[in-house]
Amino acid sequence: MKIAFTASGTDWDAIIDPRFGRTDYILLYDEEKDELVSVDNRQIMQVAHGAGPQTAQKIFELMPQVLITGNGPGGNAEAILRQIHLQIYAGAGGMTLREAYNAYKNNQLPMGGKNA
């Protein structure tokens, strides 16, 4: 399983950014390979409008099966993510990456997005 996180840092101690569109980093954890890679998203600061869809596009290209985030994506971003049948978990804002991953493993995170 490949799991994407919105985060304000690049390792397991990074804090989950509650914001979806304007997250500083997207972290991708590949459970099979036990490998964590980070994607720098900070150029989003320069984007005036449509931050959500742009970040969604990036996640689309990473092709994860699961997204763990805080507030959850907005309507336009979610429409993009729906195309890859992503399972979205929200409510992890403020946790560390490790805490959020454990919470997800223990089914403690609520489903995010409109159809939650």
């Binding site: 914001r19 005036a48 959500g52 959850g72 309507g75």
Partner: protein, 287 residues
């Protein structure tokens, strides 16, 4: 650090009057962030003295370099905004009409077109009258608010709150449910929805609640001018119960609102005995 956003689906409900009064009662604990940048008016009451200002750049405008331009007219024919002006055989960008989409640059084989990022305003960190800090922005004519600007104002407010050991950021958000509002909600812990008993007040409350709920943000509601239409006030209250939104306060119609703004004061300064119970009650519930 707790970020509290004051928003109203509909404009003119008294959102900024309440924000200003909240900053008065909570001055020792908050950093204020004015994210209602299109029609910023918090500064009229808080009379900030700017301590630090920086230029804010956002959006692009096309520029044609006449040295390279081959006068082929490709830019003219693709521009959806009719922002390219043809003068005989020469082409110019109509500055105010250009949306900065970049289509002209894309089709220009002579590479004569540049997109230049625009300086659209200023961001300030200021000392406000009641003793709290205010982070706010000032936009030039024709510039519009954006998710980018709101994110910047909130980022600065977060930093200022940390530096000054303040526990709360109180964000004066903008009306509506667009990009700037989404940006002001994201990362917030609580949203105060200010409404009034009119049909648009009611409908706009519903949609702004939907937006807040989508982002999993707890909400409370202030019904301002509650006595002008008891029927709709009752409808609003039904919605609050149905959606599990906390009723923070019901405030009767009062001309102190325009009176205070006209004098550049907050409600508390105009009549402390009358307004303190309302404002303190709201603050205690949301903090």
């Amino acid at each position: 650090m707790k970020e509290i956003v004051v928003i109203s689906g509909k404009g003119g409900t008294g959102k900024t009057s309440l924000s200003a009064s909240l900053s008065y009662v909570a001055a020792n604990e908050v950093v204020m962030a004015d994210c209602d940048v299109d029609a910023a008016d918090l500064h009229l009451i808080l009379k900030p003295e700017n301590q630090y200002s920086e230029d804010f750049y956002s959006g692009f405008k096309a520029e044609i370099n006449p040295e390279y331009c081959q006068s082929c007219g490709a830019c003219f024919s693709v521009c959806r905004f009719e922002a390219i002006l043809r003068k005989d055989d020469r082409y110019e960008v109509k500055y105010l009409d250009c949306e900065g989409c970049g289509y002209c640059q894309h089709v220009c084989l002579a590479e004569a077109i540049n997109l230049r990022e625009q300086k659209v305003g200023l961001c300030h960190i200021a000392d406000a009258r009641f003793g709290c800090k205010l982070v706010h922005a000032e936009l030039g004519i024709g510039a519009d608010n954006s998710g980018k600007l709101v994110a910047k104002v909130k980022r600065d407010a977060n930093r200022v709150a940390k530096e000054n050991s303040k526990d709360y950021i109180l964000v004066d958000g903008s009306p509506g449910i667009g990009c700037p509002v989404i940006s002001s909600l994201s990362g917030a812990a609580y949203a105060v929805l200010v409404t009034e008993p009119s049909l648009s007040g009611l409908e706009d409350l519903k949609r702004v609640w939907e937006l807040s709920a989508r982002f999993r943000i707890a909400c409370g509601c202030v019904i301002n001018k509650a006595d002008v239409n008891p029927e709709i006030t009752a409808m609003i209250k039904d919605i609050l119960v149905e959606k599990d939104i906390e009723l923070l306060s019901e405030i009767p119609y009062d001309e102190d609102f325009p009176r205070a703004i006209t004098k550049g004061l907050c409600l508390m300064e105009l009549d402390q005995a009358k307004w303190e119970p309302y404002i303190k009650q709201i603050w205690e519930k949301i903090r």
